[in-house]
Symmetry: C2
Subunit: 362 residues, 2 copies
């Protein structure tokens, strides 16, 4: 019996999500290099491997070591390289095909001096997100990096990598598609421009919203979506998945009822769900969606309420339907679909499958 906050994982849903994306990548003639920062789990990683995945993406060197320990041999750390970790890069690059990202000459010069083994290098490219990377249209800045990389012995230039994270701010599926189009066309322009000097350069593209809503992703060499393994309420609100595709839910016990304000209190707070929020119809912050839980399985056919407040351990669920409110009792367990499954999983540090099996994490 579930007694305390537990992150439930529906393996069937997750594998269906992985299969769908793997098929799409294949049909688009692109390598599927999923981002493993979402699940951070060797066991979940093996579900991908069983479906033919050989190359993966992670967001830190520590995570790369973790997955390398389970036999992954081709790992891209999709984060601007932290040059202070050059010793660890050397250690890992001795054992696996390691790719890193650069976006400034300082990192290239420093690492070329320190590295002992060849390391693949992608130039982190900004196609419009504006978070990090070299502006895809700043050919001058690109050339400066390429000049250095051309003569580098340890840093092996692989190509351009982008995360079109601006899809997360899109107001519609059409807008997501447009962002993807722009990103692809900028990447392809770079490839065309440099074709003669670098005939083998690769284009690496990622982000779950656009990889989910666009059917044909032909044109790039690899796809790096990660969140698809679980999806979440944010993806659902973006139109990137159905609620039925969400593979994780936080089981949370009801500890208090406040009928005068239609609120339930559950043990399930910021240390379980994270403070990531989406906007409700009235602009209010929502931290999750509550649905019924039966044993270890949840049922998305009816939304019971939304998490409208969070403190460290408390979740406040607003239930507007009086009859629904009345039926829920102190001591019941509810399932909360998280807003951002990556952050929720990172906080929970482990899963229990709907079959009752425990799954570990990094």
């Amino acid at each position: 019996m579930l007694t305390s906050p537990t992150l439930l994982l529906n393996k069937e849903i997750s594998i269906r999500n992985i299969e769908r994306m793997a098929r799409k990548a294949k049909a688009s003639d692109a390598v599927f290099r999923p981002h493993f920062k979402t699940h951070q789990s060797i066991e979940v990683g093996r579900w991908f491997r069983d479906l033919g995945v050989e190359c993966i993406t992670v967001s830190s060197l520590r995570m790369a070591f973790y997955f390398a320990s389970d036999g992954w041999k081709d790992i891209t750390v999709a984060f601007p390289v932290n040059i202070r970790e050059w010793k660890q890069i050397n250690e890992l690059a001795e054992r696996i095909n390691l790719n890193i990202l650069v976006e400034n000459v300082e990192a290239v010069s420093f690492l070329e001096d320190k590295l002992l083994n060849p390391v693949g290098v992608f130039i982190k490219t900004d196609t419009g997100y504006g978070r990090t990377g070299v502006d895809a249209e700043d050919f001058e800045a690109m050339q400066m990096l390429l000049e250095l990389l051309k003569t580098a012995k340890k840093l092996i230039f692989m190509g351009f990598l982008t995360h079109a994270g601006n899809t997360y701010h899109a107001g519609s599926v059409d807008e997501i598609k447009k962002i993807k189009e722009e990103a692809f066309s900028k990447l392809l322009a770079l490839k065309t421009f440099l074709r003669q000097d670098f005939p083998l350069l690769q284009l690496s593209y990622g982000d779950t919203p656009s990889c989910s809503v666009v059917d044909d992703l032909s044109g790039v060499d690899e796809l790096r979506p990660g969140n698809l393994v679980f999806y979440d309420e944010m993806q659902y609100h973006l139109g990137a998945c159905r609620r039925e595709d969400i593979a994780v839910a936080l089981a949370a016990p009801v500890v208090a009822k406040h009928p005068e304000r239609n609120e339930l209190v559950v043990h399930g707070g910021a240390v379980h769900l994270s403070k990531e929020s989406i906007s409700g119809t009235g602009g209010e912050k929502l931290f999750g969606t509550a649905v019924a839980l039966d044993g270890y399985s949840w049922d998305v056919s009816e939304v019971l309420g939304h998490v409208t407040g969070l403190s460290q351990e408390h979740g406040i669920i607003t239930v507007s339907d009086g009859k629904v409110f009345e039926k829920i009792r102190i001591g019941d367990m509810l399932a909360i679909l998280p807003v951002h499954s990556c952050l929720t999983a990172n906080l929970m540090r482990g899963y229990v499958t709907t079959a009752g099996e425990s799954i570990g994490m990094m």
Copy 2:
């Protein structure tokens, strides 16, 4: 040498913060029962013990077990009791003085039936926060609970407990003081009302902002602030501490610079700092404050910039002063004062002191 994101802890500052609050509690003739959810560390707990603290507060039964394992014998779980955990309550109540919170008759009836050992019970009381608890002025609801508790054999009624968390939304120190006054007067009204039936009933009060800004906290029996062990940018903005009192900072390496938008990128994101934010002067979200780091020690005399964006692993720091921006190099480590130290500590799962010593957590 620090290479990757690390939560630094200045022990001297922390002990000074603890001492200050312990002195204030003593002068106010109240028991200091600090909330340990902030640090979640046996070792940091011992700093309190060394200063004479014997009773503590935690936010989950799991945390109670953790601290009980280090010899704490008097623990209040300051969270509306989760009745599904009745077996664990029985187990723990056999070994220590355990207090729990109730706020509904369902929990009282259920537990009275299941408990094997006496457990102290506080009625969780809402003095204006509106998150959880029985409205302090709803004497009728209180009476219903008290009727049950009066005849209970295992649940030992201790008194009323409130967390005046509305201080966190206060716009000024005066407003914090006013919230504390209101809470105290509501609690004292309850005590007066019930003096004859329950001559020994206790009043338990908590929240770091008011316990920090109010000098004389006489009137209640115990004080449960927790955040004071570290403080953070939120407390600083509320006027509850000075920046010099903040005892933790996230060391984060600079991985990219974007002079065209005055932005640095650090490895230090939502999985390190949490997504808790405060509002900047222009209403923008701030997730932390960057200051200089020298070895393991940070310097709050100059603010370098603010964390204005966060994704899973990335932190975006906006540095408005061009000269400051120029001085910071790729590979430098900065110190980021967190907005909410409880959530940051919970994510980081361990500390390194400014003396370079590692400290574990739950």
